[in-house]
């Protein structure tokens, strides 16, 4: 019997997933003195060979378009840091009839933090008690004040720039100084001032000063390619190395978690995983488990962990696992700004992303919809890349010196706007196990059900109206959406914004939630969740910073329990 094997290694904690949540847990737990084994479904990351920072497009035969120019039609281009895919060969997911959902998954050490936009926004006080304010959705079992000290810890450690602006429900944090605005941002800020739309320095996990041994940003605008100097945040470069340095950390790469095994005492005792390199089944044992595989992958693992005591999946006696799935409401529009044609050539790069943004500026006012959104924007004289002149070519047509000159005069004159808003959970948006489909590892896959609510559709329309008014106030003309949305109308496809949250939600009532206020399973005391699955709502603020703050809080609770001998 396996239980009696005296040579079996039992770790203090097994963390599943190496992204924002898993990386934070590994750091806090190992530094707290516990031994941690981490399962990552993809390979290790090697920044010095995997990143293509500072490479010019003409230095690659494919110019950044990738083999067969396939990258031209995807989120990834050839320069991107290893991150993830909309489709993974051999690992399908399905959608229910009538539903459309896109799921971006990573299979790499560091997960989606290798590519994320580094936008690091705190949730606000009102976000934790949204139901009390407007009657929709549900309240969190914790308040902003309970999470705030952990936001402080995360920001102090990873480094976030921003400015203290005292915006209602968009709390200030521990900030490094923000970078100066680019010309595009100066123009839009002026228009926003005119329209009474708040436009302030953005809040991004990029160092504008050296911090904790990492050098400051060198302003090449290539964060998405991965940063060799680790001047932006990724779990792979900022969390995992410090865990490793404790000597109490083991990372098992290419390990696809299949099932959490519950012992006779009702506690989780092992994770069964597939070693992808050998296609063999293995087990790793621990005293506690932190699942941080990303919201939907975490739900899938719990649902697949079926046993006589948990016929519907471990920690799922409530039946909520997979439910309350939300993504951000997305909508985009671009404008052409003639004054940018006169701009002399200059270095416009800056950090990899926006230097300014618009937090929700109508908080507490009467609107046509509930909750709110923020606006991200960017454009201007970026490094030229494949696909960058499709629009100008399609609009002007023709050929010859005239077209060539038109491309040059219009280069750097476009600014794209992206709204990111809060979706209220609904009964028609959830994931479950597909009864008929398995992946190449033999693991049942997820089937998605998706429907935007009326509130989200109205919010996306409002975004479009706002974008138009900003473009016009800034002296520009509207030039259509910045991205192709497969969903009809102005709203993004579910999952497309890559802010999936809520599938293993926390709460005080074990009948309506899977986790308690410490992200500990109501049903299984040594099982925790540390990604965005515990989120009770999905405020407009991008989830990554809150994933880390919540994971840090959960990990400190777990440490405390371990010290008390409760595990």
């Amino acid at each position: 019997m396996q239980q009696s094997n005296p040579r079996r290694k039992i770790f203090d904690v097994c963390v599943i997933g190496s992204g924002a949540g898993g990386g934070t847990a590994a750091k806090v737990l190992t530094e707290g003195g516990l031994s941690v084994v981490m399962l990552e479904a993809g390979p290790r990351l090697h920044p010095e060979t995997d990143f293509k920072e500072h490479v010019w497009p003409y230095e690659l035969a494919h110019r950044g378009a990738g083999v067969g120019a396939r990258a031209r039609f995807q989120l990834n281009d050839e320069f991107m840091a290893p991150n993830g895919f909309w489709d993974i060969e051999g690992e399908p997911y399905t959608t229910a009839p009538g539903s459309t959902f896109r799921w971006f998954r990573s299979r790499i050490e560091g997960g989606r933090t290798n590519h994320w936009g580094r936008i690091a926004l705190r949730f606000g006080e009102a976000d934790f008690r949204a139901h009390s304010r407007d009657g929709m959705g549900h309240d969190w079992p914790i308040t902003y004040d309970q999470l705030a000290p952990f936001y402080d810890k995360v920001e102090s450690y990873i480094g976030v720039f921003g400015s203290k602006d005292n915006i209602p429900n968009a709390p200030d944090g521990v900030f490094l100084p923000p970078p100066r605005p680019r010309c595009t941002e100066t123009i839009i800020k002026k228009a926003c001032d005119h329209l009474n739309i708040t436009c302030i320095p953005s809040r991004m996990a990029i160092l504008t000063k050296p911090l904790n041994g990492r050098p400051a940003c060198h302003y090449c605008a290539q964060c998405g390619r991965g940063c060799i100097s680790a001047s932006n945040f990724s779990s792979s470069q900022v969390m995992i190395p410090v865990a490793q340095a404790t000597g109490r950390f083991t990372l098992i790469a290419n390990a696809m978690a299949r099932e959490i095994v519950v012992g006779k005492d009702g506690k989780a005792e092992a994770v069964s995983y597939i070693d992808k390199s050998t296609r063999s089944e293995n087990r790793v044992y621990a005293k506690a488990f932190v699942v941080a595989a990303s919201a939907c992958e975490t739900a899938r693992l719990l649902l697949n962990s079926r046993s006589p005591s948990f016929p519907d999946g471990v920690a799922n006696s409530s039946g909520v696992v997979g439910r309350y799935l939300t993504d951000s409401v997305g909508s985009d529009l671009a404008g052409y700004f003639p004054q940018l044609e006169k701009m002399p050539a200059h270095n416009h790069d800056g950090v990899g992303g926006m230097h300014m943004y618009m937090p929700w500026w109508r908080f507490g006012k009467k609107n046509d919809f509930l909750r709110g959104y923020h606006i991200e924007f960017g454009g201007g004289r970026d490094m030229p890349g494949v696909g960058g002149f499709d629009g100008v070519c399609a609009e002007n047509e023709g050929y010859g010196v005239g077209l060539k000159q038109k491309c040059r005069s219009s280069y750097g004159t476009f600014i794209g706007f992206s709204g990111r808003g809060e979706m209220i959970p609904n009964d028609k948006s959830y994931c479950e196990l597909d009864p008929n489909v398995i992946d190449q590892w033999g693991i049942p896959v997820l089937r998605f059900h998706w429907q935007w609510g009326e509130n989200e559709i109205r919010m996306a329309e409002d975004m479009q109206d706002t974008f138009r008014s900003i473009v016009e106030a800034a002296g520009g003309t509207v030039r259509g959406g910045t991205r192709r949305h497969s969903h009809a109308g102005n709203i993004s496809t579910g999952g497309e914004i890559i802010h999936e949250v809520g599938t293993v939600r926390m709460g005080n009532d074990p009948k309506t939630s899977a986790l308690n206020k410490n992200c500990q399973a109501h049903d299984v005391k040594n099982l925790f969740v540390a990604d965005a699955a515990p989120f009770v709502s999905n405020p407009d603020k991008n989830p990554t910073l809150s994933i880390m703050a919540l994971s840090w809080r959960t990990s400190e609770y777990l440490l405390d329990q371990a010290k008390k001998g409760e595990l």
Binding site: H54, Y58, E185, C220, H348
Partner: protein, 183 residues
Amino acid sequence: MGAALGSVLRAIPLQAAEYAHSIIEAENADDKAGGYAPRFFTPHQFGTLQLLCETIFPADADSGGAKEAGAPEFIDLITSENSDFQLKLGGGIMWLDSTCADRYGSPYLECTHEQQKEILDSIAYRRNAARDKSLSQGVEFFSLLRSLTSDGFFTSKIGIKYLGYIGNSFLTHFPGCPPVPGV
């Protein structure tokens, strides 16, 4: 910028830079040896492709053209890996040749300059296909070729210089928007 470069490079592992340049050299080595042997297009088609690319973005007083920028080689490479492009571009060049043969009695490359201009002027605009349905396949072909030529030209060294992009560098601080009247 030189001083800034030196100070930041110290923070960047040398092997990273070496690796990036070694893969680049390996990728480029294939194409630099002798004359270019097209991967997908026949020599005749590749010659047509070169002329079309150069006609779309020609050399002028300010810069070289799409041919010097390596756009034909780039398009040949991605077409050799993409069956959809093979159909649209391989088929497109054959459409162009047979249309020229019908109209002028010879394939595109052997047509007079005036004939070449006439056929391109007819397939370079969508509105022409609305008037004359026999042109619609040619318009589709030319539209894709124009986009891919813009990729090839504007991602080249001379194309990037032509646009005036400045960056991809190491700065110790970011100066922000330069003082420009009206901004």
